[in-house]
């Protein structure tokens, strides 16, 4: 059944949004990412898969310099977004992160109202000129996060009071509200039940219209369901990268095949 869907995939070539060359990441003395080269396309969902500890989340966090917040972490190599080196000294990680939003494994709404959760990003980046403007952004973001209908009557209730699936969609809406160009998702569904997962997956598919989405996932089925491109990481190496359909049906590397057939991981 999956195969049927895979064949229908839109596989047209797109602009390249993020280009990474020879990326190395070290945690103190551990070499966590080795020589990763990858091009991530715009308006595409790219999935990073691989066994635990393979470095896929680490690499994802390089893309918006979230690794900067970890003292012992060191990144080498060259990562460009729209042709601009994001590790250049001139780049302010704050501006970068406004452009490259992120959604985390565990839903992490702030201990504020739903409204303030969404308005947080626009406020700090100065995206709204007036209260009405801000209301507008909040509503639009909640709609894009496919959660508007569920929360429109209680915008001033605390965000922590929502269910897990709702919280995660709130976090996605929150990330969307800052008008990013790339959206990074670090196992966004691993803390959710199957129903919430499918809601979020649908949402990811919709987000593809406007953003370049990079998703790290543990579940191969999920990668197959939501992504157009898939990258397989193993022991810090990028083993294989290509069309999702191709990776899952005719993997080139024996390691990819073993992982997909369930022999490693």
């Amino acid at each position: 059944m999956n195969d049927m869907r895979l064949l229908e995939r839109d596989v047209d070539a797109k602009d390249i949004k993020i280009a990474a060359r020879k990326v190395q990441v070290y945690y103190a003395d551990t070499h966590a990412i080795k020589d990763v080269d990858v091009d991530i396309e715009d308006k595409t969902v790219t999935a990073f898969i691989g066994p635990s500890g393979c470095g896929k989340s680490t690499f994802l966090r390089c893309l918006n310099r979230m690794n900067d917040t970890i003292d012992i972490c060191r990144v080498e190599g060259d990562i460009r977004i729209d042709g601009e080196d994001i590790y250049d000294a001139k780049v302010d990680p704050v501006q970068l992160r406004a452009k490259v939003g992120m959604v985390f494994q565990k839903p992490n709404p702030f201990p504020k109202s739903i409204y303030d959760n969404i308005a947080y990003g626009p406020r700090i980046h100065g995206l709204a000129r007036s209260k009405a403007d801000l209301d507008d952004i909040v509503e639009k973001s909640l709609r894009r996060g496919a959660i508007w209908d569920e929360v429109k009557d209680r915008l001033h209730a605390p965000g922590t009071g929502l269910s897990g699936g709702q919280q995660q969609r709130l976090c996605i809406a929150r990330a969307v509200a800052t008008e990013p160009e790339v959206l990074l998702m670090d196992e966004p569904c691993s803390a959710l039940d199957p129903i919430a997962t499918s809601q979020v997956e649908e949402l990811i598919d919709e987000l593809r219209q406007e953003f370049s989405v990079v998703i790290v996932t543990h579940s191969m089925q999920q990668a197959a369901r939501v992504s157009q491109k898939t990258a397989f990481f193993h022991l810090g190496n990028l083993v294989e990268y290509g069309e999702t359909g191709q990776i899952f049906t005719t993997p080139q590397d024996p390691r990819t095949e073993s992982y997909i057939t369930g022999r490693i991981g």
Binding site: A19, Q95, G126
Partner: protein, 443 residues
């Protein structure tokens, strides 16, 4: 892939370049820097206060460890002795003899400065008495040159250590400007000098009129006996209470009551424990006032919550697998706790106890109420038991007593006492840190 493909990743939206920091980001970064500076400022203020405190302690406290003495070599002939003893004002005669000797000694060193008896008395106190006492006790020394070491008055002491200066100096009946000239001359002649004040460390408190002779030794002993009481009561009781609460207590109202009590007692002001000690131990149980045993009891009650809290943490850190292993071999719960859990938790318990003791050692307020202040600890206790029940002072109480006296010379002593107290605290804390480092166990 080649660089060509990277170039094709051309800007798509009208988005701003990442390589240009926009005005808003610059403003935000400025706010960030300001905020961070506030943090650094706060740390700096805290450390600044610490430095000021340490400097104040050492600058004002070190003079307590030196004393100014006059070295005079002096011989008294048999005739002079008999002559002096036959007079009405005996000590005066000795003083005159002494002044004569001093003058000769000054002449020898080439200093010519007129001085009279009164100024010697202002500088070195009533020397005659000291000399008379010595020769009456050692009549065989008559005719032999004997060197005397006479303690200078506290004001001369202050002049030598810089507390008393010539600027704005006003003659008083205690010291005149002319005396200072004499002191300078005596110093040049090597007769007056400062030396380490052992008496301050080993001696007992003096009266209010003799700051030079005050020592902290007796109150160190008082503190020592108090700490013995605290150690031998709070360690067993604290450990027993913690074992019960951590290992045996059922979840019920009574246990909750104990828990709430312990956490609240830990935050009750120390002076309230003083009131408790006064009302229960002294008024009700008629234990002796100012006795280290009472101080020890009060401090025990005050320290117990601290010790219980840290002991419970160390017991809690012993993994349940140890208990299970012992129980699995057929040990009773009591045996598993006393044979296995308690020995493993012991380093942590001792560390907590030492820190609790250090806290108790520096505590003053409760001691004020049970009468350990105001009592002049003039001597050491006669025996071990007396050490507990005889009235005595304790280090912090002694420091307070000195700080409350009118003569500013006692302030030096108070600061000096603080240096001694802090040295004890430092030692205890270092022992605790070493214990923790040495025996720290990661499960």
């Amino acid at each position: 892939m080649s660089d060509m493909s990277m170039d094709s990743a051309a800007p798509r939206r009208s988005s701003k370049s990442l390589h240009e920091v926009d005005a808003r980001t610059r403003r935000r970064n400025a706010a960030e820097t300001r905020f961070k500076a506030c943090g650094i400022g706060a740390i700096a203020i805290g450390l600044f206060f610490l430095v000021v405190l340490v400097v104040a302690i050492f600058r004002s406290g070190l003079p307590a460890f030196t004393q100014t003495v006059l070295d005079v070599e002096f011989a008294l002939t048999q005739e002079q002795y008999e002559d002096a003893e036959s007079q009405l004002f005996k000590t005066k005669a000795y003083s005159q003899a002494f002044n004569g000797a001093l003058k000769t000694q000054l002449d020898e060193s080439g200093v010519t400065l007129p001085f009279d008896e009164a100024s010697i008395e202002r500088i070195a106190g009533k020397v005659g008495g000291t000399i008379r006492e010595y020769f009456r006790a050692n009549e065989d020394q008559l005719g032999q040159p004997t060197s005397f070491q006479l303690a200078a008055s506290s004001r001369v002491d202050g002049y030598m250590t810089g507390r008393v200066t010539r600027d704005g100096f006003q003659d008083s009946r205690f010291l005149t400007l002319a005396d200072l000239d004499l002191v300078d001359a005596l110093e040049d002649a090597g007769i007056i000098r400062t030396q380490f004040n052992w008496n301050f460390i080993t001696g007992a408190d003096s009266g209010v009129d003799n700051p030079g002779g005050a020592g902290i030794g007796a109150s160190v002993v008082g503190s020592f006996f108090m700490m013995l009481v605290v150690l031998f009561l709070s360690l067993p009781i604290g450990v027993a209470a913690s074992i019960y609460l951590e290992e045996f207590a059922p979840r019920n109202r009574f246990t909750d009551l104990i828990e709430v009590n312990i956490s609240n007692l830990a935050a009750v002001p120390s002076i309230v424990f003083g009131i408790l000690g006064l009302a229960v131990f002294i008024q009700f149980m008629h234990l002796p006032q100012s006795a280290p045993v009472v101080g020890g009891l009060v401090l025990t009650l005050m320290t117990l919550p601290t010790i219980i809290i840290s002991t419970r943490a160390s017991l809690n850190a012993v993994p349940p697998s140890i208990r299970d292993a012992a129980l699995g071999l057929g040990a009773s719960r009591m045996q598993s706790v006393f044979h296995h859990v308690l020995p493993l938790a012991m380093p942590g318990i001792l560390t907590g106890t030492i820190i609790g003791l250090a806290q108790a050692l520096g505590e003053t307020a409760p001691l004020l109420l049970i009468g350990m202040v105001g009592f002049v600890a003039r001597g050491y206790p006669d025996s071990f038991i007396d050490g507990f029940v005889e009235p005595n002072s304790a280090m912090p109480a002694q420091i307070y007593t000195w700080a409350a006296r009118a003569d500013a010379a006692f302030y030096d002593k108070a600061w000096g006492g603080i240096i001694i107290l802090l040295m004890f605290l430092l030692t205890m804390n270092i022992i605790a840190i070493i214990l923790r480092r040495r025996f720290e166990r990661r499960w």
